[in-house]
């Protein structure tokens, strides 16, 4: 501890998803190394995960579902219902996927409120870090500053010159933007009204149409490297917003497996996130295509590993990989455009081939391809030769490799985890002095 007089208690409330949880782990690891006390407020479904990384946990249920059977039914319905929707365009996904997802998000915010209030009163943190897409009134009333961690694509913070959130539309062509925005706000109107009614019921002001979380009046950390930021019409106030790049956690070293075939060929890693792994048909198509290609391929297949047989000699399946320990060793990362995956690719200077299927994955797919840091491929509408041609192009693009290497060096020098930790601590200090309380 260098600059602090006393250790700070820093509460983290990540949404119950891997991306948010794991980048909070990265920032918390840094804070712990500096002598502070990070505590995770987490859904019981995630209980143990943060403890396994050596952190304290306080349970806060983000869902009313409790029994294993209820949760299994929920997921069976969820997968059955939404799998066809992942074939649709971003515009079509607003009504089919995003509206149900926002309803679940609003439910979680309403459900969590009393338990969260209690947990915060018990913990009395110096600062709360919220990594979510929805606002929890208990956090604003915890009597300490709070930080918003923006761990989706930068599009989550709107601007007239930034493509609409989840649209996947190009930055250089605004022709589809207005239609998408109108469709988004229109489709979300009922759930937004429901959320506003909840806010009013607890004495909070309503939010603007389409908005579920405002910037923090204290500090907002965008997990986006400055180098890929959009040119905003209204630049973000640098006192309140910081582009910190990815917060990549530390993991144990990963030893590559031996591949009976092509053991000396370029290495590709395929990870589509926990939800993406449920699409076993897609994985089978990929495995079939890779079987005849001159590469080694690591694939993250989640709990479905046991449903694959006859795995080719140049392919290795695993339930889960410690991605930050794997990506430095690969030549290409094929992912779904999750913000953590993109940040890991950029941090380690690896090209991305993004095959998005929902949410900000569309935005990140578009962004890497328009900036020449990777390419995008439709999730389902491809042939084996298309996929292999895209891979060949990316592996052979020397100029892209140079750009990525430079970006990776810049990110390493910027030390995003340390910067995030320093900003959080400075804000926690400002809180005790009763500084800055006005909205941005």
């Amino acid at each position: 501890m260098t600059q602090m007089e006393r250790p700070r208690t820093i509460a983290f409330l990540p949404e119950a998803a891997y991306g948010a949880s794991l980048n909070c782990v990265a920032i918390a690891q840094e804070l712990r190394d500096m002598g502070h006390r990070p505590v995770f407020l987490c859904d019981p479904g995630f209980a143990g995960m943060f403890r396994n990384y050596g952190f304290e946990e306080l349970p806060v249920a983000l869902s009313p579902l409790k029994s294993e059977a209820e949760i299994a039914d929920f997921w069976q319905r969820f997968i059955d219902q939404h799998r066809p929707h992942f074939h649709l365009s971003p515009l079509e996904q607003i009504a089919t996927y995003e509206v149900p997802a926002w309803n679940a998000i609003v439910d979680s915010a309403i459900h969590a409120e009393p338990a969260l209030k209690k947990a915060l009163a018990q913990l009395k943190p110096d600062i709360v870090c919220l990594d979510n897409v929805v606002y929890f009134p208990a956090i604003g009333r915890a009597g300490c500053p709070w930080v918003r961690i923006v761990s989706c694509a930068e599009t989550e913070i709107p601007d007239a010159n930034v493509p609409p959130y989840t649209s996947g539309l190009p930055a250089a062509d605004q022709s589809g933007w207005a239609d998408f925005r109108a469709a988004y706000v229109g489709a979300l109107k009922p759930v937004h009204e429901r959320y506003n009614a909840f806010l009013v019921s607890v004495g909070e002001a309503k939010m603007a149409p389409g908005e579920f979380l405002q910037p923090s009046p204290w500090l907002n950390l965008l997990l986006t490297p400055q180098a890929i930021a959009y040119q905003r019409r209204q630049p973000l106030d640098p006192r309140l917003f910081a582009y910190i790049g990815g917060a990549v956690r530390s993991e144990a070293p990963y030893d590559l497996p031996f591949f009976p075939k092509h053991n000396d060929k370029p290495l590709i890693y395929v990870g589509f996130g926990s939800l993406g792994a449920a699409d076993t048909d897609l994985f089978r198509r990929l495995i079939e295509t890779f079987a005849a290609a001159p590469y080694r391929v690591l694939m993250s297949v989640g709990p479905y590993k046991d449903s694959y047989e006859h795995v080719p000699d140049n392919v290795h399946l695993e339930y889960w990989y410690p991605q930050p320990a794997v990506i430095p060793q690969v030549d290409l990362f094929i992912h779904h455009g999750g913000n953590n995956s993109l940040n890991e690719a950029l941090s380690f200077g690896k090209p991305s081939l993004v095959m998005p299927y929902c949410w900000d994955g569309h935005d990140n797919a578009q962004r890497v391809s328009e900036l020449g840091l990777g390419a995008k491929l439709p999730r389902y509408d491809w042939t084996g030769p298309d996929l292999l041609a895209a891979i060949r192009t990316l592996l052979g693009d020397a100029a892209m490799k140079r750009r990525l290497t430079q970006l990776s060096r810049d990110l390493a020098a910027a030390d995003s985890r340390r910067r995030a930790a320093d900003l959080i601590l400075a804000t926690a200090g400002a809180g005790t002095e009763g500084a800055r309380r006005s909205a941005p």
Partner: protein, 286 residues
């Protein structure tokens, strides 16, 4: 394994009689086994005087036991490249080996409890820790089994062994999560659990724990436990040793139960914003 525990030094005599008594078998198989160890360079045979330790038996604990065809079969089975049933012909074709080589590998796998002979020319792979389901089953089995070690009449932990375990555990705690050697972590973990099994003085219980250890060693795919959890697990082992040495075996059993339950904590299989995380997979495939 047994020889290693006898604390023998190079040059020490290994009496055949001692081995026959320990394993309750006749001299013929014992002689065959000791001759195999001579071939591996661990023992030497001196005319008429019997078998003597040739090298450092402790050092062989870390020597790779899975080499060549045997290792390739295990690797490929665990990687879902080999089917759950194989024939010698299939192995001969895949690995370009002779029938005797394939049969030798299969026989060794059979002795290790990895495969079993089925009807015809087929060999079937037995449950191993090669799937999430079997890993969970193994964990739950150990949760039933291992706390019971402390409840066996005559439970007694060898002091020297306890001291060795403490040294190894403390060393890893001092090293901290960043510097852990994963192989050493597994070796120490297995040594700890096997020591509790043997201390139970119940040979069936000790044997069941050893069988689980063997499966754990063979598992090529781990659950990728973050290092801080491994250090926490070392602390839990120490707390169990404390309870044993304080004579509080009921507490040792409770701590063992908690320790195994904590290690069972898995990452949720499904998560999505706004949704309850789900442990494990779905009942119906998608």
């Amino acid at each position: 394994m047994w020889l290693r525990r006898q604390d023998l030094k190079p040059g020490d005599h290994v009496p055949e009689r001692l081995v026959t008594e320990a394993f309750h078998v006749s001299r013929t198989p014992v002689r065959a086994a000791l001759t195999l160890l001579v071939q591996r360079g661990l023992l030497e045979r001196r005319d008429r005087r019997g078998f003597f330790v040739a090298g450092d038996l402790q050092a062989t604990a870390d020597a790779p036991e899975q080499t060549g065809l045997h290792a390739a079969i295990l690797r490929d089975r665990f990687s879902k490249r080999l089917e759950s049933e194989v024939t010698a012909a299939r192995l001969m074709k895949r690995y370009r080996v002779s029938r005797p080589e394939a049969m030798r590998a299969l026989t060794r796998l059979q002795q290790e409890g990895i495969v079993e002979r089925a009807l015809g020319q087929r060999w079937v792979f037995l449950p191993a820790l090669d799937s999430l389901r079997s890993q969970e089953e193994s964990h739950r089995f150990r949760l039933v089994l291992e706390p019971a070690a402390f409840e066996q009449p005559g439970f007694a932990l060898d002091r020297a062994r306890a001291r060795e375990l403490r040294l190894a555990l403390n060393e890893m705690i001092l090293q901290g999560p960043a510097a852990l050697d994963m192989k050493r972590v597994l070796d120490t973990d297995i040594a700890f659990h096997e020591a509790m099994g043997e201390a139970s003085q119940n040979r069936f219980l000790a044997d069941a724990i050893r069988r689980q250890s063997r499966l754990r060693r063979l598992a090529t795919s781990s659950m990728q436990v973050p290092p801080p959890r491994l250090v926490e697990s070392c602390r839990e082992h120490l707390a169990i040793l404390d309870a044993v040495e304080a004579g509080d075996l009921a507490r040792a059993a409770t701590l063992m139960r908690e320790h195994l339950a904590a290690s069972l904590r898995a990452r949720p299989g499904f998560v999505n914003r706004g949704a309850p995380p789900m442990l494990g997979g779905l009942r119906r495939a998608v």
